[in-house]
Subunit: 526 residues, 2 copies
Amino acid sequence: MSELLQGLSLIGAARGAPGGAGFTGTDPTTGEALTPRYHSASTDELDRAVALAQAAAPVLARSSGAQRGALLRAIAEELEQARADLEALVPRETGLPQARAAGELGRTVGQLRLFAALAEDGSWVDARIDHADPARTPLPKPDVRSLLRPLGPVAVFGASNFPLAFSVAGGDTASALAAGCPVIVKAHPSHPATGERVALAVRAAVARCGLPEGTFSLLFDAGITVGAALVRHPGIRAVGFTGSRAGGRALADLAAARAEPIPVYAEMGSINPVFVLPAAVQARGGEIATQLHASVLQSAGQFCTSPGVIVLPDGDAGDALRDQLVALFAGSTPAPMLNAGIAARYAEGVAALGDVAGVDTLHRNASPPRNAAAALFETDAARFRAEPQLREEVFGPMTLLVRAHDDTDMLALAQSLEGQLTATVIADATDQAQVAPLLDVLADIAGRVLMNGVPTGVEVGPAMVHGGPYPATSDGRSTSVGTAAIERFARRVCFQNLPDALLPEALREANPLGLWRLVDGARVRA
Amino acid sequence: MSELLQGLSLIGAARGAPGGAGFTGTDPTTGEALTPRYHSASTDELDRAVALAQAAAPVLARSSGAQRGALLRAIAEELEQARADLEALVPRETGLPQARAAGELGRTVGQLRLFAALAEDGSWVDARIDHADPARTPLPKPDVRSLLRPLGPVAVFGASNFPLAFSVAGGDTASALAAGCPVIVKAHPSHPATGERVALAVRAAVARCGLPEGTFSLLFDAGITVGAALVRHPGIRAVGFTGSRAGGRALADLAAARAEPIPVYAEMGSINPVFVLPAAVQARGGEIATQLHASVLQSAGQFCTSPGVIVLPDGDAGDALRDQLVALFAGSTPAPMLNAGIAARYAEGVAALGDVAGVDTLHRNASPPRNAAAALFETDAARFRAEPQLREEVFGPMTLLVRAHDDTDMLALAQSLEGQLTATVIADATDQAQVAPLLDVLADIAGRVLMNGVPTGVEVGPAMVHGGPYPATSDGRSTSVGTAAIERFARRVCFQNLPDALLPEALREANPLGLWRLVDGARVRA
């Protein structure tokens, strides 16, 4: 593998030059600097990558669903062939266990094949045909047909916490390529070797499929200059991002201030409130405590959907559930975090939370360096509503119990929340009266509303929404997981009175692609 | 009618107070100030309108498609009952002829009924169901279901040039209400009485349907304070706008700078290039000249889709078409413009264009005050590409002929264009070789691509796109005309493992609403 990894950006089929500011990956369990050394892309390299993407864009826009499907399947195959490399690189750069790397690779290739199937099926373009009526008065009705078309070159910023599934060949890249958009990825500096290895797989697939080299590029950067320049570049038409609120908002602000603003789809995390209702607490508090504890601690709490707030009723049953959580947290072992910055921010966040007046620290241990020890806090609903700091995500294995007096208190708390990726209700049949109004409020603030489960674990399928109102994302109308993610990278274009032969195949009268279409307002496939 | 019109904002079922900065409508043909005098909404009135809209939002979000359809049909009926008033008010405030007012009213009620049918059909929510698989390994697959839900209160800014179809009860309002969003309209100050009369019709419909008063409000303002405050208000979740580039961009910038950014759908007009290919010029230059002249002069050129640039080949046939246009323009009569500001900006725009080096004035007359005389200019493709000023819309009955040497010159010109609402190709069968590459480029820059027609006249139907890349709109993924306009005011929300009875009806297993849904990836209605 060492001969594959050069520490240089991939500018289409070429490599960037050494010379830019250097950096390395780090083994988060030891702090050891890893090889190779990575070199930041130059402005010229960035311009070249965008120019190549712009040249590739019309070719990809004209490519068939079969061709896009073949590309995505080839990327999946190349990644599977890189399995041994990736199962070694991911743990080394992220501290995540090898089993997680293997599982995440499976998820990543599954996503690529899901989008391949979507592109091959082709109906996602939502083709619409309104037939002409030359006899209509006072004016003849024209023939009007429309479909979704790719936006053009997309910039993708991967996440630190999913080095495969939300990174170089993750959901943003898969959905953009499926839509027919070239992709330029800004590599996450926390797992550069993983990024480079995945990028080599993507590049090999692009070459195998005979597509233009500008279909895909990968840029390294020690800082934030390259990413900012990419979002500002006039050739970039949309941005996908997974990461912090500060990072996502900064990119959204840059994009909105362009001469020609572009959409930014930033998934920025949330506190993912869980509401445990009285009858459920009463009936199965112990089971609920075990589930929630596991969800909070999974992957050291380094999930966008980790439950950061658990709302529990006052009273003895709530106290018992809390005490069970305290015991479980006390028995947990510290785990390495993805990088030193995340570990430091977690330590700061936990310390700050413990200092908030009215917040009790139920469990908190010192962590070994680079590790995170689970932490558990408690406050009441009135305090939670009054203190904005309590609504901020602390990324890591912690949660805040919020005690509510009654239904009204719980509902008021739900109404006070900002936008969330997820909101969960844990309830029993006898909680029924309380559940419906709570679900109503949660559907207004969250992208995904769950019952009797935990928010961690995001299923990849047509119905999934991994999004939610600001500040969970920068664009609450979008999802970054599931097939609806493709809609982020397309726009509807309509054609009026074009001869059949000049129409895109998806819009031709005979429906040669066999798509589901909306013809004169009716959904048909004939 | 005079007793109906009070010159005061409609804050739900109540009226604003007099006292704010005053203004009046003006008869654009005479400059005469009209009655009644209008009073700007106060900050308190704005806050009240938003609070009422926020209170109405959950009720509308829960309303059935049948209820939304009934509201939209009731608005259409109320507008038809106001026909005599509107056919008197519109010409008086806008200078548009009564026949145009009648036609635009027909279009407006037609749009309302189209969105009523869309809401009643209900399939627009794009319901998706991914069934559970409890036996899946390593983890059971959850039940995941999603649909589009309304965003909440929407602010609408109507256009001066469509006092009915793109104003108080126009496409933005119809699509937002159909989605289940309350609407607050900032009345256009150029036709306040028309706005007030339409708002009374909407309010009557809201009351008839037993919906909360906050479903609809109308705010007057002499200046831009109320509009800016509305876009900044935390209770507003999205903005629809039709107007100038400066106005649309200003609102988009305000919305992007909010603590919680919101989407702005601003349709800002464009120059709508028309490419006339050599064989078509040769075969039917006279007919083309007549069509284009009529399109440029329709409603004094006061359409977002008015053809502001006509690309013609060099040579004798192109010269002949040009000369025919010159003769037609010379024979046209000045027409009143919508208001004094628009007339003044037209006069300035025409004067400035005549002063650009390399631009020849082919026809230009002085206009009587408040009127616009048609103007015709000519330049070559190289000059057009080099001079950014020539790409700016001059709103009114003018067009710029751009002469191209050959196919390559024409294609290069197309590639140099900014985002457009429309782009038109006029071609004959023997132009075929040139057409396909040109269409490819135009589909990248325009919302609607036409052949052998004129861009004025926007059909309202499921396939229509009245949108296009920036600067034609602030959000190139959207359309403000046609049923796809509803998608602007909704976001996808997903529900995981909810019991059937707690799901929205659209997602229940038995499909009680009979919707087209995506079930386990397949489009079905069963």
